[in-house]
Symmetry: C2
Subunit: 390 residues, 2 copies
């Protein structure tokens, strides 16, 4: 973890609340996040804007968000591109911004995640989300990401002989953390026992699926020598980054419950950062469903295969636990802004490492791991962030 | 133009023919281009795949092409992301691959452009293409990219007092060059006088608009020290790169016929390369319409404002002319594969600089400029490529 001149620093962050914003367009959400992140960065101007987004074409009939949002946020003329990797789009945009700053050809790069989903209802929204699966082999059969996760969840419970009621601790922890996060969609804890009663599809409950929502978040990256004069935020550095793909279809994998990209992405980012996963103070997982949470914890090595479900207890994953996850409520209770999710993770991790997480603070957090997944971990983007104590 | 260790080299290229391929899916087109580029690069394995594409979600209901195509081309586990910037998506993917290799975090990066458009017909296809305009202010009024270009073309003729018949040389040159390009969609010259008779909308003729088409092309980039043993292609280096945005809507510009992003992108890429635009041996323009060709030539400084139309003569833009353009037929006659267009430009420029352009060869070409535009030059990606004589 020696500091190098090429180190990438988080100069600014921002997030809108996550929720159903019928009175705001994707343009408005994006502008708000861009302006707020610039303000947080002491006015720093991004030379590059990478926009992580999945649904703008489907839901808002709008392509070329990079150009649209650069212009509308007063940044006409900068570099602007949309980056898509299913619901890992935010993590992918962060990765590209990281590479751009490291290249030396660019001094400042903003990764924006934005999604405007909730204007679309019913079957049309399911069809849009199914675009992130294999169109010919999965979506054509009527599968959706949540439907596929429900099938795999059933397989998980069966294969490892798990009582589904034992998994309540995952959404309960997320809701506990969201209850004190002003930007969360669900600002309340779950009543005891409600998880067990909320079955909507065989083994899957209402609380096993994160709510798709609207939101925008941004991270402005730069190098030490480009920080603006007078900028005085606690320094947080991006010290490891990876993006790994797996098969798009589940049927092509050697085992449907072993998520190779989720494992390799953690290994590669941690190796780049010179750390072990167990060194981190928290792990922001991509908890699109409880299945995602459990398999991610296993893939990252926090539990053996088939044992990740056992971690779902406050003393393990709570803010004061051994490996805190979903520290601001996660996708489950903060809300799932789809293509923006990976940027929310980076923003929340930065707040933790700056010591600005308020009631959601993981005490003494110095090292954080964030993982953003696309589909059934068909794509996995991982970043390691570190507080600078020097 | 001193060589540096960080120089980015074109290790491999490929292209499929451009046309209407009703028997091939976007998956098949993408796989073919990836495999062929790897073969051309002596088997080199890309660590990264950036896929330039605009329409896969709309036309093929398929997101996450980066993952899908990496896996299907036998590259499971590499980094894979889709890059979108309207019809500048290919140029944007090339830019990101360039930055990735320059970052040092990645040794080999493939920029793939792929588009499968022709399965969709009629109004649905027009609506898809309109996504690249401003949804709220342009597409909502019924504008399409070609419709908007036709209006601007009319304005051009009026403002600069130009006889539209004088522009015939642009499509005629493109068709002449396409007639000997085995990958072109229209492998025939235009009959004399046909341009003047082919009016389809006031001043716009059938020959002023490039045909949207299917196709895939790939470029594999690396650094000198990562070239495979035994690789013996003539070296072509990427020595300048830029991506610049303008307003998305035409109404926000200071003048509808001055394309700032087209100008700035050339200036920045040439400055990075240490050359002047007039030093280049050819200029691959984004000739989506004749308006695009004329305004690009003006923006790049090959003509003054309002005088670009005068360049449309074989002795100026032909293969042996002062500034050859559309050397393989351009979008107009080779065909317009939309989000793949920018990669076709890079492939064709590499063939010119390798001296492998066959009948389309610009004699003695050592330095090439390529420009890929999104919408009405709302996005402009420019690259400078150089033959290595050392």
């Amino acid at each position: 973890m020696d500091k190098r001149p090429s180190d990438v620093i988080v100069a600014g962050i921002s997030q809108t609340p996550v929720g159903e914003f019928w009175d705001q367009s994707i343009r408005q959400l994006g502008i708000e996040a861009i302006l707020d992140a610039r303000k947080d960065a002491g006015g720093l101007v991004p030379e590059v804007l990478y926009v992580g987004n999945l649904l703008a074409v489907s839901a808002s009939r709008q392509a070329n968000l990079g150009t649209l949002l650069a212009e509308n946020a007063g940044l006409r003329g900068i570099e602007g591109v949309t980056v898509e990797a299913a619901d890992a789009s935010g993590g992918a945009a962060l990765r590209l911004a990281y590479l751009a700053v490291r290249s030396g050809a660019v001094n400042t790069a903003m990764a924006l995640g934005v999604e405007k989903f909730t204007d679309v209802i019913g079957g049309a929204s399911e069809a849009m989300l199914a675009h992130m699966l294999d169109a010919d082999y999965e979506a054509a059969e009527g599968l959706t990401p949540v439907g596929l996760a429900a099938l795999l969840f059933k397989r998980y419970l069966l294969e490892y002989e798990v009582d589904r009621d034992a998994l309540a601790g995952f959404p309960e922890t997320a809701h506990d953390n969201a209850s004190v996060n002003p930007n969360a969609m669900f600002k309340y804890p779950m009543r005891p026992g409600v998880y067990q009663q909320a079955i909507v599809s065989e083994d899957f409950t209402l609380y096993d699926v994160a709510p798709y929502a609207d939101g925008a978040a941004a991270v402005l990256l730069t190098r030490e020598d480009c920080l603006p004069v007078g900028w005085d935020q606690p320094r947080v550095r991006l010290i490891g980054s990876s993006l790994v793909t797996d098969t798009l279809s589940i049927h092509d994998r050697h085992h449907p419950l072993e998520w190779d990209a989720a494992r390799l992405s953690v290994e590669r980012a941690c190796r780049a950062a010179g750390i072990m996963p167990r060194d981190v103070d928290f792990f922001e997982v991509h908890d699109a469903t409880t299945l995602h949470t459990v398999l991610s914890l296993e893939a990252a090595g926090f539990a053996s295969q088939g044992q990740g479900w056992m971690l779902g207890k406050p003393e393990t994953i709570g803010l004061g636990g051994q490996i805190p996850i979903t520290t601001f409520g996660g996708l489950k209770a903060r809300g799932n802004p789809i293509g923006a999710a990976g940027i929310y993770q980076a923003v929340e991790a930065t707040l933790q490492l700056r010591g600005q997480a308020g009631t959601n603070q993981v005490q003494g957090a110095k090292l954080g791991l964030i993982q953003c997944l696309g589909g059934m971990a068909s794509t996995a983007a991982v970043h390691v962030l570190a507080a600078d104590n020097g």
